[in-house]
Subunit: 385 residues, 2 copies
């Protein structure tokens, strides 16, 4: 609900739909005969098409990364802190493309799309897509937009995994990969949290083996639980202490099972809102894409060998209190890049906010991000002339 | 299934039942007119009754802390690593008492006991009990056993909270409190994990608002989820990596939602076993006792003031990789004890196992534990003569 659009906003934006009729082979062996990708663009593509930046989204993200869809919008896009005129991903310099990934629930082909083979919704029969599949589908989007080479591909968390995969699979098609709060693969603990989320969803009576839409139902409680677990892991212990402490909603203990502590009522509310706005089958798919991501696997578990193909420059950032995608995992990427003799900059940012930090306006993060992207903008400009 | 009882085991043991007909007033304002506590004892009470040690259990524990119930038992009691002849809690020297707390599901009065007021099972109407209530009920057990003063009260996790509460509420009734992997109160993150567990149980259709026994049902999936979340938090990230890594059960990715990674199948199995052996209403009660524990609350949030009443000696231990009850929380207790000018020893043990470490045979932990308890045994002996 911006009374007026802030001057550093990309303003009112409109989602677009890219339609692909060339079949896409997926890692799982299945083929999508047809697919659509919802996307948005901010800023202008320059004449030699060298200023395009791709934004890859995380678990629950989508194509609406910046600006507003209408003057009634309560909130701007999910990365509005970082995309806009004068912001780190400066739309005065860059043509920014943000999309909703395959399997998503915000407009791209996914479980709620019609399966041409059955004329029914895909539902739980939508194939499990991987980060590699997403990168392939994004490369086709680049083709369609006539972008031969991205000035940068940028993502946080699962989004950073996509940027990393691009650098391996399409080395000539990006000049920079900016990988934030990410990992070269999930740890067992991370897979375990995802498994809890999946079990919560799949064991909900409202899930109906994934055919809930046909039953006019949905696994509300399961999605709530999945989000509650996720949310805890996105915040640091300290951030939760600062935000909630042991504050009681009514000031006193009630000796019942209502939401007594502020943190309980916050999590229930967050879980409830999420459950009403996110598709359960998509959530399952996204967590699987996370679990499966392991680019070293094709190279005898040798991440250095995997990254030896890369030719872009890398900027890796992590946050000190992020325990879901800890700085150690970012350092694993950095170490492998150094061993592979690649050009890499790394910054571990002191921030109390945990994994969530990558979405938040943190001065040191913002400044470093801005400086690195300004360098890219200068490179773009130098090559324009 | 011990083919023969190991020489350092307390051997075959038999649970006993203590019956109390004096009403017990609870912190919630309700009164239990009658209650029973299941307990076991190991070793012999000496003539001046000065060698008794009380073991307080954690979230899912009970009175069967050591030895075997029969030669067919697959496993010994939950703390058999630490209780027995020649072990740290040496039954050659100590008379050890372990009980199942009120609200439990292993023989003490709890949700599956008959409510004398209604002649039905208590079910969800069993009052929410607190650590303070438990300590009061344990003091009555001590009275019944003619134990005026415990040589030591020992507990890990939620068990440590009981030992701490004893030191404040019954300062003259214990000489030592051994508090392991515990905390003076839960953090917001900890409360949040408990809330997820409760929501998982309460939202399960099998819960029937807590009246599942009457429906011949139980919230199997909810209990599974609760245990899965719990289990993740009891292990360190490193312990999970070492135990499971990213090992696949079948060696290859299946692109489905079965348990593909070893960690998934392990957690599902652990959750399933737990769900078949633990009562849902008890789980809810135990998590609430954890959340509510905050002895400083009665003293204007001043833990030093709360502990100023204590007269026992304290031994606090924590484990470096325990993130559910981190060493910082143990240090909060130590700092408050120092400020209150109490006698306290503290050891932070380098152990990769996370919170679970307190149950495991870790040499440094075992040695320190043994040395401290040997000192107590010597004190007991000195006073006997």
């Amino acid at each position: 609900m911006p009374e007026q659009i802030p001057p550093d906003s990309v303003g009112l934006v409109e989602p677009q739909l890219a339609i692909f009729n060339t079949p896409l082979e997926l890692a799982c062996g299945q083929t999508l005969p047809h697919y659509e990708l919802a996307y948005e663009t901010y800023g202008k593509l320059n004449s030699n098409k060298s200023n395009a930046v791709l934004i890859c989204h995380a678990l629950s993200g989508h194509h609406h990364a910046a600006g507003f869809h209408s003057m009634e919008d309560r909130k701007p896009g999910w990365w509005d802190n970082y995309i806009g005129p004068g912001k780190p991903i400066d739309t005065n310099h860059f043509f920014v493309v943000a999309l909703n990934n395959l399997g998503g629930c915000h407009g791209s082909t996914g479980p709620n799309s019609v399966n041409p083979a059955t004329k029914k919704l895909y539902g739980p029969e939508f194939p499990i897509v991987t980060v590699k599949d997403w990168v392939n589908s994004q490369a086709r989007l680049a083709d369609m937009l006539s972008i031969e080479q991205w000035a940068a591909i940028i993502g946080g968390s699962l989004g950073g995994m996509q940027a990393l995969q691009w650098s391996i699979d399409y080395p000539e098609r990006l000049k920079h990969a900016v990988i934030i709060a990410s990992a070269p693969k999930l740890t067992a603990q991370n897979i375990a949290f995802n498994e809890v989320a999946r079990q919560a969803i799949m064991s909900d009576e409202g899930f109906h083996n994934g055919w809930y839409k046909e039953q006019n139902d949905y696994p509300k409680k399961g999605l709530m639980l999945a989000r509650m677990v996720g949310h805890i892991t996105y915040l640091s212990d300290d951030a939760m202490r600062q935000k909630f402490g042991r504050e009681l909603r009514s000031g006193a203990i009630n000796f019942d099972f209502g939401a007594e502590f502020q943190v309980e009522s916050y999590l229930r509310y967050q879980g409830e809102v999420f459950s009403e706005n996110f598709d359960a089958n998509t959530y399952l798919l996204m967590t699987k894409a996370l679990d499966y991501f392991d680019p070293a696997k094709d190279y005898n578990d040798d991440l250095v060998a995997a990254l030896s193909h890369a030719s872009c420059q890398f900027f890796i950032m992590s946050f000190t209190t992020d325990w879901r995608f800890s700085p150690e995992r970012s350092k694993d990427i950095v170490d492998a890049l150094i061993s592979a003799k690649k050009n890499v900059s790394y910054l571990d940012i002191d921030a109390p906010e945990g994994h969530d930090a990558f979405l938040l306006p943190i001065p040191r993060y913002r400044n470093a991000f801005k400086a690195y992207l300004a360098r890219i903008a200068n490179e773009v400009k130098a090559n324009e002339n």
